[in-house]
Symmetry: C2
Subunit: 467 residues, 2 copies
């Protein structure tokens, strides 16, 4: 083990002493409105990439924001102190979801505030945890190593993309074109959650996704509902009818072949998950619900970790202003997404969705589909030396065993990095279930930020010992 | 018959010679953005009322825009030339529907243009036919009488409201408070259509309406669909599921008791309607459709004239911007309206809608209802001397028999005027099915405007002979 890693205590001391500055640097990052899905924010998204590159340069990385046909990729590299130590690639994203509905935020979404919470203090802003706050957990760990010892214990590469929230269209071409530059022994991703605020977790199952916008077209123009109502197809009613057909009464998705490649989890995994003591009432109670919903005969953890789903994420058509307008709209649209698991093929599922809607469509309607992204589900090896080292490091930092869990979310990059760079990812994140990810008042507990930085420092030291 | 009515030819000559000026006056009226449903247009709506009052003053009426708790009522009166002639009340509305979706207009909605059409020329603007153009048919007839003979053949009252497109909240209180001022022998309303461009019609059946906005609430905030999808209720999916339950496979509305007060039309009326030679293919073809839809076993005319319906007029929820957002929305809303017939009670139907949705609602959701207006269906007597006189006048002007028809639309004022003033209405309008009422590129054929003015002149002369 190198001299650098031999003195983790000094790094931890540095992390603790500098934590207020870490929060300030995160705040600066959160002020940049890097909403990748909205072209109106393109300039700020580009500024955010440059901000990240400059931050990495300030701690000894060679770093640049590389142009793509979409938003820039931040690519950085640090040689590390030990030429024999492994090379670790860190992946994250600097783009964020739109802030709307903005009227539901207690503070401006891009003007971060630190407020007291029942868990200590928290920082509130769009991107606080997804993923700017989590990106800062490893960047601040690098900074602490640099300040404590002048270098890092491993060779480190960083890849931050700006399109994670908009389907990552540039990622695969970029990985294909930069296999040498991004070559590494393992990839570390911080975009997932802990089990709870005291219990760290490594995510080993990730759902994939198909996101599609469907538009049902009917009459050639908007019609007066008095003149035509009752005698012609209404595209909004028709869209509702189609969407209602997606699930049967037992919660199963009806797209043909949807479950063909879905395998049951093993009894062993099932038993392990049951042993986690997941609290359904607390999970639902935190969001104002009591009953839950989903496929019968599956637990909440199964429903969100290993079962595929379909949700409508947005719907619009006809008159949506104040008051009344007696119109039959010419068309109506819905944005819908399926979370995929196991070997479900995103392209097959997309085709199945299209076939399903076409087959049930009223003969006076036509339907249009626009894909907003496709990626398969991921399973990460649970027996690698990387995972064992990371798990031990997390257990040391938290003084509590790190759990192996699944997650309902999708991180397309993990699949691409496996496929195109040949590198497995370790998914170690510090979010909590109630962080309001993708919602108003997104937050990151400062305790989680702090422990996240300490965890990355401990993991990096542990990785240095793998030869 | 008075001297004035004895010389209808001179009035007709005046109408023909002054027609270009009539179109200009209509254009001036159309430029005023009197969108009653949108508070942002309140000032222009008030200006429009004053414009109408001034126009009536310019042809000898005593006229004013009377303030209400909503938009003003234009009230005007002309004594007429013959104290023994009947008193006729004309009702219309100066407010219009919103112009959106504005991007689908070929010209600005409030900048009227006259363009060539296969039927001659047409004027295109929001309100061209509904109802500003139709209001001008009787005002210009009054003007022609005034200019030809210095007075009108009957005593004439005018009531123009500014809330017809937003549920007429002020109408009933205003009628109740002004029964003497508005007293008349008959009411004439021009807010309906002709059978076709060559065939005039008097509408004797009008559907009523219940308009309600429903909002389904689920989780207490927007959620990440990856974290929660598959395990919690999704208000958009839930709303779609509820809306899909409104109709069964035979097109019947499923609200409990919906058809209880709906009576079949007589065989005689049915035979008469079948004799009209309604062209289904042309009706549907004009709006880009071929199949139609609705209750099985009913013709298109029955579906739109004498059968009740339910249509969704608008829907919105979740992410509706460009691209993708993987959110489960906290709530979703739909605006929906029922067209009512015969003795259906609007309040009963509204309650039934609420009961229906409540009874099918997911236990993790709550539902909110906001009423945007209620009015019953109307049947007009077909054997009155007023109707016979009007029918003969129309037949003379068009040289073709005026038909008695139904309409799918609702004119709440007709019911209120019957109930509160004790006056039956004659529904004589000059719109066509393809006028794009409530839709982009609303238009009024100038032939219809011209014949409408001539028809009102002929009717007014005929009414003068009723003693």
């Amino acid at each position: 083990m190198s001299e650098v890693t031999g003195t983790l205590d000094e790094v931890m001391k540095q992390i603790d002493e500098q934590f207020d500055q870490s929060v300030e640097r995160l705040s600066d990052l959160l002020r940049i409105e890097s909403v990748s899905t909205d072209p109106a924010h393109d300039q700020q998204t580009a500024e955010c990439a440059e901000f990240c590159a400059e931050m990495l340069r300030s701690i000894g990385f060679e770093a640049e924001a590389v142009a793509t046909t979409g938003h820039p990729m931040v690519v950085a590299e640090h040689p590390g102190a030990d030429p024999d130590a492994p090379c670790v690639l860190y992946y994250g994203h600097y783009d964020v979801q739109p802030a709307d509905p903005i009227e539901l935020w207690d503070h401006a979404a891009f003007d971060p505030v630190v407020i007291d919470s029942e868990l200590g203090r928290r920082i509130v802003a769009r991107g606080a945890v997804d993923d700017k706050g989590q990106v800062m957990t490893f960047i601040e760990a690098f900074r602490a190593f640099k300040e404590a010892h002048g270098s890092l214990p491993c060779r480190v590469k960083v890849l931050l993309e700006g399109e994670e929230e908009s389907g990552s269209p540039s990622l695969d071409p970029f990985l294909e074109a930069n296999t040498d530059r991004l070559a590494a022994d393992v990839c570390v991703v911080s975009d997932t959650g802990m089990w709870d605020i005291k219990t760290p977790a490594i995510t080993t199952m990730l759902r994939g996704m198909v996101y599609v916008e469907v538009t049902v077209h009917g009459p050639s123009s908007d019609l007066h509902s008095g003149m035509y109502g009752g005698a012609v197809v209404n595209p909004i009613n028709e869209l509702a009818r189609l969407l209602a057909k997606i699930h049967d009464d037992s919660g199963r998705v009806q797209f043909p072949g949807f479950y063909d490649r879905v395998e049951s989890i093993t009894e062993e995994v099932k038993a392990q998950w049951e042993g986690l003591g997941f609290d359904d009432a607390a999970f639902l109670g935190a969001i104002g619900l009591t009953h839950g919903q989903g496929e019968t005969d599956y637990s909440t953890l199964e429903r969100t970790w290993c079962r595929p789903t379909c949700d409508v994420n947005g719907i619009f058509g006809g008159y949506t202003g104040k008051g009344a307008k007696t119109v039959i709209a010419a068309h109506a649209s819905a944005k819908l997404s399926c979370r995929l698991v196991a070997d479900q093929d995103p392209q097959e599922i997309l085709q199945s969705i299209q076939d399903f809607f076409e087959s049930h469509l009223h003969p006076d309607c036509r339907i249009e589909f626009e894909s907003h992204g496709c990626n398969p589900a991921i399973a990460v090896p649970t027996d690698s030396s990387w995972l064992l080292a990371a798990r031990k490091a997390l257990t040391d930092v938290f003084d509590r065993e790190a759990l192996l869990i699944g997650t309902g979310g999708s991180i397309p990059a993990v699949g691409s990095i496996r496929e195109l760079l040949g590198i497995d990812s370790l998914l170690v994140g510090f979010g909590l279930d109630d962080d309001n990810v993708h919602a108003p008042n997104e937050k990151f507990e400062l305790t989680c930020l702090h422990n996240g930085i300490r965890s990355h420092a401990a993991m990096l030291a542990a990785f240095a010992g793998i030869r």
